[in-house]
């Protein structure tokens, strides 16, 4: 059986995505990833504790919600820092990715109800957020390929 191979085009794009960072940008991105990881873990833990009824309503529940919120604030702050201090081409690419993600998410929120009325499955804010994040990632890849 032959080994799976990655296309040269994909490797080239991957190298472009990785090569777009200076060492300073990479450090800022690692900080960002730590905040995102912390957010992910605390968010899942908070959902589990809340859904299993281990944390009650009122003060304890709000306290629990504040933990992932703090990590989310940290992630936003470190992303803003990354973009502000990033290599200028990386900043341009991030701007295009943000525009793509934001535009697609708003478009989805405005237009999808029409599809729902026509019988498409119901979707809410979570679905819109996931679609926005996917569009952001796609926008980043497209912009990276444009300046390659």
């Amino acid at each position: 059986m032959s080994e799976p191979t990655t296309s040269p085009r994909a490797i080239s794009l991957l190298k472009a995505v990785c090569g777009i960072q200076t060492p300073h940008d990479r450090r800022n991105q690692i900080t960002l990833l730590r905040w995102i990881l912390g957010f992910g873990i605390t968010f899942l833990a908070a959902v589990w504790l809340s859904e299993t009824g281990r944390v009650g309503d009122g003060g304890p529940g709000i306290g629990l919600a504040l933990v992932p919120s703090a990590f989310a604030a940290g992630a936003i702050w470190s992303y803003m820092r990354y973009v502000r201090e990033a290599d200028e081409l990386a900043r341009t690419i991030q701007l295009q990715a943000i525009a793509t993600g934001f535009g697609v998410m708003i478009g989805f929120l405005v237009l999808y109800p029409l599809f729902e009325q026509a019988g498409a499955p119901a979707a809410g804010l979570y679905e819109a957020a996931v679609i926005g994040m996917c569009a952001f990632a796609g926008g980043e890849l497209i912009a990276t390929a444009r300046y390659r």
Binding site: T22, D25, D87, L89, A90, R146, Y147
Partner: protein
């Protein structure tokens, strides 16, 4: 905007990575500049000219196309 970054860099025997390190940008930025796919900000354009000891108009040439 056109530029002769590639020739100036080649004259000095620098790699794209060497120039990127001196300018404090990524190698990909230098590559995009050389290929004419990206126009630098004014501060970066001045920094590039300064790195090569040239005037900015010796490195970058305005082109309407």
């Amino acid at each position: 905007m056109k530029n002769n970054l590639k020739d100036l860099r080649a004259d000095r025997g620098w790699s794209q990575g060497d120039l990127a390190e001196q300018l404090g940008v990524s190698r990909q930025t230098v590559n995009a500049l050389e290929n004419g796919k990206y126009d630098p900000s004014l501060p970066l354009a001045f920094k590039i000219a300064d790195t090569f000891g040239r005037k900015i108009e010796d490195v970058f040439v305005w082109s309407a196309t």
